[in-house]
């Protein structure tokens, strides 16, 4: 039982890698609470968008996670 976290752009630098697996948890808050506080802070900044399995999430509070979900943390895009 696990979740996959993906860190794009400068979040990769904060996390130290572009992705990692974490133990399954049903809510985002629980996932974040298990991370390094500095990383959790960076992931919850106002400008960061979250996509679950490739779909953007607007209301993260209402989010219910499922085993195997991929959570991508997306900083503001910097242009092609």
């Amino acid at each position: 039982m696990a979740l996959r976290l993906v860190f794009m752009g400068r979040l990769e630098t904060v996390a130290g890698s572009g992705e990692c697996a974490v133990p399954f948890a049903a809510t985002l808050d629980t996932v974040l609470a298990a991370l390094e506080p500095a990383l959790a802070d960076a992931l919850t900044a106002d400008t960061i968008r979250l996509a679950v399995n490739g779909a953007l999430v607007n209301d993260t509070a209402a989010l219910v996670l499922h085993d195997g979900d991929e959570l991508a943390f997306l900083p503001p895009v910097s242009g092609g």
Partner: protein
């Protein structure tokens, strides 16, 4: 083949792509193209573009559909590189073909403005041996507002 949208992880030849695109556009009177390449500033040694597979290409395809819906185009080509690039390397090629010149100019500029400010790319540059993530530029958002 009216719409051709590609996300590439390896180098491409913009002139070969343009030659093929314009040969297929027999009806078009005009073709407007934008070629973006890594600037040859002495300071920038390399550039890396990241993308997120589930969002980036679908977003580009949706942008192309939007442009095709707004202007009467004979064809639209969007090619975008990702990965590691060096000065002079092509990054992006947008080409819009239309019977009327104004439509081709508008569609190409619309596509570029949206690629620059809304597409799912994250960019970092290497200068003096150090990598630095690039933040969005205010001017890109101003460019985007023109279409709203």
């Amino acid at each position: 083949m009216a719409r051709d949208v590609r996300l590439l992880t390896a180098p491409f030849d913009p002139q070969a792509e343009l030659a093929r695109f314009s040969a297929d556009r027999a009806l078009a009177g005009g073709i407007v193209s934008f070629l973006g390449q890594v600037r040859g500033d002495a300071s920038v040694e390399a550039l890396e573009l990241q993308y997120y597979e589930p969002l980036t290409l679908p977003g580009m395809e949706s942008l192309a559909d939007d442009a095709m819906g707004r202007w009467p185009l004979e064809g639209l080509l969007i090619i975008h590189r990702t990965g590691l690039m060096h000065p002079g390397d092509p990054i992006v090629l947008v080409s819009a073909a239309a019977r009327h010149r104004r439509d081709a100019f508008a569609a190409a500029e619309f596509a570029m403005d949206h690629l620059k400010s809304e597409s799912w790319f994250w960019k970092r540059e290497k200068a003096n041996g150090e990598w630095r993530w690039i933040e969005p530029r205010t001017v890109d958002f101003d460019d985007l507002k023109r279409w709203q």
